[in-house]
Structures are given as C-alpha cells and as structure tokens.
C-alpha cells in the first residue's frame, strides 16, 4: 500500500469522525469521569460504532455473519488505525483495544468454531471480552504464574492478573495460564465466563478516568475445552499471544497519534490567540521552533504508523519490527506532545478545567499499556539480532 489513504479509507475515516464528533466529544469523557460512571465508557457509543462496522474489523467476516455490514475492502490494521486515531483525538473511551484488538483477535486466531461463535455478539457490541495476560506492573507477557491444572476432563485455574483493561465490565475473559498435567507444560489461553465461581473482579479507577480490573482466580473450575483451540496436542499459544499483543500495541500507537495530533492543533491555536508582551505568543521565534520541531516528530511518526499498518495488512515478514517501532516511537512522541502542550499553555495547562490535562493522563496510560517505549525498543533491537 502506498503511504496515502485510499478513497474508501478516506470515506470511512469521515464516517468515524462524524460519529465520534456527534456522540463522543471530550466533554462526554469528562462527564463519565466526573460522574465516576461504573462502566467508564458509553455502551451506546459502542453499539453505534458496531453499526459502522468498526467492531468486526479484526475478525473473519464468516465468524461475525453479515450483520455488521462491513465492506469487503475494509477490514485491517489500516482501518483499525483510523478508528483509534479518531478515538485519540476525541478521548473516546471504548473497549476497542481490549475487546477487539486483543480478545476478538485471539479468538479468531485460536478459537474453535464453537468458541468463535461469541464473535457475532461481539461485533454487534452486545458482548464484551477482556484479555487478562499481565501479572506484574510491567508489560511482560512471558511472566505467567497463573496455573491451569488439568485433572481428567476438568481444569482448575488459579492466579492473579492485573491491569486487565475493561475487565470490570467484561462478560468473558481470556486468561493466559500455564497448563499443567499435559505431556509437556505449555502456555495456553483460556476462555472463562466472568461470573464463574472463583473469579473475583476488582474494578480500579485509572488516572484517565477509565477502568481496568484486578482479576483474582481462585480454583476456577472449567471444562478442558475452555482452552482456546484444543488441549491435545498441547497448545503453544505463546507465539500467537506475542503477535496479537504486537498488533494491539500498534493500534494503541494509532490512538496516541490522535492524541499527539490533537494536542498539536490545540496548542497551535492557543499560541495564535494568547497575547503577552503586546504580541501573539505564536510570534516568538523560540516558540515557533518548538512547534516546528514537534511537527517534524508528528510527521515522522505518521509515516512509520502508516507503513506499519500496511505491513501488517500485507503480511510482510518484518511486520513485528514495524509494530515495535510504531509503539516505541509513539510513546516518545506522546511524551514530547504532552510536555509541550502543557508547558506552552502556561498556567491554564495544569488546570483540571482545561482539556489538556485529560489528554496528558490518557497519553500516560496509553504509553504504559501493552509495553512502553523501552520495551518496544528492546524488542526491536532483538529483531535486529543485536
């Protein structure tokens, strides 16, 4: 794919933008936060996004039926990126990353036909699935202490998962665990109903007003076909999990692109309006250079993201490297963007009344979600073979 949008994509972006503008202005995000909304997001918006086909973008149309009306030309990272970038601009709180990029994708890649049947309801926005993979305070999917013990036809699942994005409202959970009791121990992803006995979900409120959950699993009894795919031969889900996490990180980077671009435009507008020393702030050369520098970083990032998205869609050999580059770069871009936006707004930038702080907080969560710049630079270096 060329590094420009096709006509269909531009049209799709326009529809997404129109939908989010109308239904999810930043003030809506502020309202959800101020009212400490138990969901932390709008289910209505989620269903509206379903109608637009956003929720089926990462699944096989055969699994979701035709109900979403997704056009065949659409359906890939490029489109997902467009949706998420727009979410970033509007601070729209949606379960896009947790439910679509992570859970739908894992089900699509690994699920049996019976398990994939859940995807129909996911695509309509009626069912939410969260993925519980993280155990410590950093992104390290290989660190799994959670155990699924196989005893005959039953599994017993125990462990603790942290920072499970949207886990507080999930109907189902996908849980990574070491399956024990097979010929060889192996990592598997298990499908668990969130209200199963032994599952304890504790909602946690994050700085961006959204929610995640701590999931405590205490001897949760499951049938052996709760494991995605099949348990015999022993599943090797680790590689697929790594790939799905890399794709999700890239989508997260697209949201960050939206945040950085929105902050840029808002700051530019502020500098053009605010006067000190009898002139517009935008007329000070020191500030012009700061904006020019920021613009350069934005443009570099955009090129990288577009290429990474098409790299995924085309199935290029190096797509994982591209994804790592994307998330690493966008983490750094967001550090720059949030620091500049706050600083160049002056006092108003550190008030709760201004939207700038809402972007700053969301950007920090996004930066640390699915691996920070340090993690992804390291992963990139590994792929360079150094």
């Amino acid at each position: 794919m060329a590094l420009v949008l096709t006509e269909t994509q531009t049209e799709f972006r326009r529809s997404v933008r129109a939908l989010l503008h109308a239904n999810s202005p930043v003030s809506e995000h502020r309202r959800l936060r101020n009212e400490a909304d138990p969901d932390g997001l709008s289910r209505k918006l989620w269903r509206q996004m379903a109608t637009l086909g956003c929720l089926g973008l990462d699944t096989d149309p055969d699994d979701t039926g035709d109900s979403t009306g997704t056009e065949s030309e659409l359906g890939g990272m490029a489109e997902l990126g467009l949706v998420l970038e727009q979410c970033g601009r509007q601070l729209a709180a949606t379960p896009m990353i947790s439910c679509i990029l992570l859970s739908s994708r894992l089900l699509t890649e690994l699920g049996t036909k019976r398990q994939r049947a859940l995807l129909t309801e996911v695509a309509t926005g009626d069912l939410l699935i969260a993925t519980a993979y993280q155990e410590g305070s950093r992104h390290n999917p290989e660190h799994v202490d959670t155990v699924a013990q196989l005893l005959g036809d039953q599994l017993s699942l125990s462990g603790e998962k942290r920072f499970v994005i949207d886990g507080h409202i999930a109907d189902w959970l996908l849980v990574s665990a070491n399956i024990e009791g097979l010929s060889e121990p192996s990592l598997g992803i298990l499908l668990v109903k969130a209200d199963s006995p032994g599952v304890d979900l504790t909602r946690t409120t994050l700085i961006d007003g959204r929610n995640s959950a701590t999931v405590r699993l205490n001897d949760v009894k499951l049938p052996r076909n709760a494991v995605l795919g099949d348990v015999s031969p022993p599943p090797h889900h680790a590689t697929v999990l790594e790939e799905v996490l890399a794709r999700a990180a890239l989508a997260q980077a697209a949201e960050m692109m939206g945040i950085a671009a929105e902050l840029f435009e808002r700051t530019q507008e502020h500098l053009r309006t605010r006067e000190q020393f009898g002139q517009k702030l935008a007329s000070f050369q020191a500030l012009k250079h700061r904006m020019a520098h920021w613009y350069i970083e934005l443009e570099l990032s955009r090129s990288v993201l577009m290429d990474a998205n098409s790299g995924v869609d085309e199935g290029r050999d190096d797509w994982m490297s591209l994804a790592h580059h994307g998330k690493a770069r966008l983490g750094r871009l967001c550090s720059l963007a949030t620091a500049e936006a706050v600083q160049l707004h002056g006092g108003i930038g550190v008030t709760d009344e201004s939207d700038i702080g809402l972007f700053l907080k969301r950007a920090k969560v996004a930066e640390l979600t699915l691996g920070d710049s340090s993690f992804h630079t390291d992963a990139y270096a590994r792929r360079l073979g150094i």
Binding site: Q134, G136, S137, R138, H139, R162, F163, T202, R203, T204, T205, L206, I207, D208, G209, T214, E275, Q276, F277, G278, A286, L287, S335, A339, V342, Q343, G346, G347, G349, V350, T351, D352, E353, G357, L360, K361, K364, V365, L368, T369, D372, S373, S374, F375, T377, D378
Partner: protein, 405 residues
Amino acid sequence: MSSPPTSPEPPADLDAFREDTRRWLADACPQSMRGPVPPGEGLNWGGSDQADQSEDSRLWLTRMAEQGFTLPEWPVEYGGGGLNRAEAKILRQELKALRARPALTGVGQLLLGPVLLEVGSETQKLEHLPKIARGQVRWCQGYSEPGAGSDLASLQCRAEDQGHHYLVNGSKLWTSYADRADWIFCLVRTDPDAKKHDGIGFLLIDMKSPGISTSKIRLISGESPFCETFFENVTVPKAQMLGEPTGGWGIAKKLLQYERSAAASLGGSSAVGGGSMLELAKEVVGLQHGTLADPELRLRIAQLKMDQSAMALSARRVGEEKREGTVGGTGAILKYVGTELNKKRYEVLMSILGTQGLGWDGSEYKPRDLATTRAWLRSKANSIEGGTSEIQLNIIAKRVLGMPD
C-alpha cells in the same frame, strides 16, 4: 536598613550551643514530626487556618517559634532567633540529624519576609515579621492576572490614591492558597499613565477586607491549591504600601529571586514516600544478572543521578561565589535546571512504577504509588509557576549573555 545583630556568644561557645540545641530539639520535636511527611499530610504553612494540621504539628510550630527557630537568622525583635551564620548552620545540622520536618513553610517565611526585612519601614517590619515568624499569619502572592502571566508588568489590577487610603479594583489569577491565606501581597497599578514598569506598587492587603473574594481552581493533580482572587472597591490603608507607590517593580523582582531559588531546590530530591528512587526501582522493576531488569530505564536513572549531581554542585558553587563576592551568571540557571529536573525525575518515577502508577484512587493501589502519581502531575507546573522555563531562558540570554531582545 538595619543589619541583623550578631550573636553575643563568641565562637568558642559553638560546641555548647550545639549541645544545648541538640538537647532542646530532642525534647521539643514530637516523634510524628520526624522522618518523611507521609502521603496525604502536608507541612505547616502557618496562619489562622490550622484545621488540616495535627496536634503535633501545631505544637512543633509553637515550640520552634518560641525559640525563634522558624527564622533563626532574623533579629529577635522581629520574631527571629538572632543566630549568627555558624549557629544557624548548627541548628540546620541538628534538625537534619533528627530528621525533623520544617516546623513552618510558606511564602511569608520564604519570599515576603526577606524582602520586608530589606525594604520595609520599621513599623511594617514590627507589624508583620513577628507574625510571619510565629506562623500566625499565612500570606499569598498576588502577582499574576488573566492578561499578565509571563508579561507580569502588564498587570491591570488598579490601586487608586484616595487621600488616606487606596481603592483596589481588579483580579488576580493563580493565587496559590488565596482561600486559606490571611494576607496577600499584591502588585497593583498605581499610575496608569507611567511606562508599564514604572507605575506599579507593592501593596499588603488583609484578606478579610470587605470586597475581596476568591474562587478555587482545581489542578490536574486533583487538588485545588490555587484561586482567582477578586477585588471590588477594596479599601487599603496607605501605610500598607511597601516602598514607593511606583517602586513596586523593583521589589517584585527581588522577591522573585527568592521564589526562584526556592523552586530550584525541587529537582535535587530523590526521595519517594520515605524510600529512595533506587530502592523503588529494585523493588518494582527487579534485578537481572545484578543490574536493573530494564536496561533503558537503568540508563535514564543513572543520567538523572548525574544531572542531579551537576545541579547540586552548581548550586553549591553559586553559594561559595556569593560568599567570596565573585557572583557570576550561574545563579540564573538554577530555577530552570531545578524545575526541569524535577519534571524529569517524576517521568522516571512513572516509568519505574509502570502500570501500578496509573491508579487514581482505590484500594488496589499503594498510598505511596498514588501519592507519587499525583506528585508527577503536580510537577508539570514547576516549569510554569514562578516564571516559566522560557522566561528563564530569556533572562539568561539577555542578562547573563548580554544578547539583544
């Protein structure tokens, strides 16, 4: 200007002074006033509103104030301790050894006091300094306005000469703790026809004066420490003008120097809720083959440590130069370096905490981590308050390097 009286005690008695001070402090300092300030608790800012201070904190302030130890080097008649430099140093050392928290802080003690001491009339000094030293009056700073931030001298808040009093009208923005302060020092326009720097007065105003109101502004960290302050036909006695009615700008700048050197000291600390950054990193990130498991973060921490050390050494050099009387341009860099460093320090802390630093509240997060996260948000203002980083760079370029506007 009167110079502080020197202590009657000859240097030979310094050991005795240390002994006495140590013994007194050991008795006077409540246990809960030793060690780091726990999350959720704040230092004592003095003033009539002591509601958020513990019994111990009030007691500690009272005891220290009785000795004049809240402002040890000030003259006794103004509420100070009348100590000479060597004694004051001993007091600092003994307080540090006890890990005692400051009994009093705030803009009265740190910013206004030193300026009053220098330029105030005898009556003004006798009226205000002892109350500052005893922590009886809490002050706030009325400089900025909606239209006057970086361009402070363009301020509009008006003080009209009405014969025996001034009539003040206008508003101030970002007035920290105006809602809890007893008095405010304000920059006001006394002569609207003069050039902008020449028509400014420095006025001391009782916050209980009729016509003053405040409205709180919330910060991104969730606290509401600053306000917009409104003045509507506020009557202020003329005796409350500090210096000449049109000489306020010079005083304002003097005070800013104290403010900036106080702000500069922010970046040096590496404490987090009682522990150190290095301990936190080892606890949260963990070690692998004897070094921090995240190699990039490890280098960022090391870089930060180097920067902190460079900052501390420069601050020390400025101090030594001052004593030698060979003041160079280094002092002008400290506000910029200290505040930028503090922001960087909190960015590093957030990277260390990872997702466990993303909580806003709730039992799933440690109080230490929640407090660090709020402090990270608060640190964003450091390079804005007290004159922005950009303005500091302008000052360095212009005043130190002599570059044209």
